[in-house]
Amino acid sequence: MPQANPLFFDDLMKAYSLFSLARNAMSYHRNWQRAWRSPDPKSSYDVVIIGGGGHGLATAYYLATQCGISNVAVIEKGWLGGGNTGRNTTIVRSNYLLDASAGIYEHAVKLWEGLSQELNYNVMFSQRGLLHLAHSVHDMQEIGRRGNAIYLNGIDSEFLTPAQVKEMLPIINMNCRYPVMGGLLQKRGGTARHDAVAWGYARGADAAGVDIIQNCEVTGVRVENNTVTGVETSRGFIGANKVGSVAAGHSSVIAEMAGFKLPLECYPLQALVSEPIKPIIDCVVMSNGIHVYVSQSDKGELVVGSGSDAYNSYSQRGSFDLIEHTVGPLCELFPLFSRLRMLRQWAGIVDVTVDRSPILSKTPVKNLYFNCGWGTGGFKATPGSGHAFAHSIAAGEMNNIAAPFSIDRFNSGALIDEGAAAAVAH
């Protein structure tokens, strides 16, 4: 692996390394550069990306570094990474059932595997393993089917017996309300540092010439002759040859500006962390039967989540019963956590499609592309989604990884129904 990507970081002092850290320490860190500039928007760009979350920033990064389009702006209404990218439980995996899903999520995991080096930014991608628990005959059938499908798609996948589950997770209560009957392990799955992903892509995109414009809200999409010509923003009109909307929880709002509806709705999705403790759980554990998932961050908090609230909301807060129904299961599966304490709870706005698969698609408006619908589980896809979307925008056609995720599937019936078929989110 190269020390730093010479494409952007010509100056060795700008590149991050042990060396630059040591050098900068000598000057009391006075010489570090801004991670990204804060430019004023130009009057127009080749491509405008709406939304400075991980997916939007990754899209811009790959447009600039791989597609030869660096005259790009990312327009973010708040602070970059402040959407779901900054509030998710950071689970990364590619063990999806259906071929189209496996295609895009595995594409992402392969990119994750070299991402810190590619970006010259440590995103702390930790392939500590991800374990799905099976608590019923039905769960066993589900992991049986999915485990095989994943394996045959060339993705790592292992079944664990109850004894192997216990060995991997000695603290688990095998005899919980729905006893653990087995597990499905993806060793290459794990977690990554959410903020670092946004910041790393932002820094990389910026170095490649992308303008990242924060605190600038898109308030309108200008369409002429059914073709997009730019976006109205809180800082004025910004022209664009092509526009990519990567606004996650706000996708319907952007779609409405462009005059159409999307096959998705927004819900609050909550998560919580415990106080930090010394390492106690070394893999990511997901249980659909007991309804909780948990991992431990490098800082030591248990990062815990469960299902989403079931009403439309843009409020970034959910209702407390969800927390009760997350903490209860946590203690059922890991009774020893009962004396630990919850430190903070929060919520994001997730954009959920009926089939629980994302949308990467052309739209009724020419040159306006949408990347959304990642719902409760798109963090893991960040690099793959950005990569596929960038190449598709550049080509003007969805590439073969993105193509199955078109909006048209909701009319033709060609759903990619991970929700119905596998019922596993995140």
Partner: protein, 104 residues
């Protein structure tokens, strides 16, 4: 945690209810004549507004009646609830909206 006013039972805790999504989407009658797009639109596409939303709720642990509600999706505040057969209440005017139009 909302308090929801069941039009039959009065104010109740949110956990007695379940939400069933956007209201006032009548099932088309002559479905055979519909295009795939029109049908798909009925089944899957939703307004999902950032603002006032008319939606269906069920008093699950109570009288088991469905009813409609008008709620703001940013403040999460209910403007009103109404029986299925009642006409749609108008949207509140600007001055009546909550002071908290906070951005998310």
């Amino acid at each position: 945690m909302f308090i929801i006013n069941c039009p039959y039972c009065g104010d109740r805790d949110q956990t007695e209810f379940s939400c069933h999504g956007e209201a006032h989407i009548p099932r088309p009658t002559e479905t055979a004549q519909m295009s795939d797009d029109a049908w798909g639109n009925y089944v899957f596409f939703r307004t999902n507004p950032k603002g006032y939303h008319r939606e269906r709720w069920l008093h699950t642990h109570g009288c088991r009646r469905w009813f409609n509600a008008l709620r703001h999706t940013v403040t999460d505040e209910f403007v009103t609830t109404y029986k299925i057969e009642d006409p749609r209440p108008p949207l509140p005017t600007e001055s009546q909206t909550s002071s908290d139009g906070r951005q998310s």
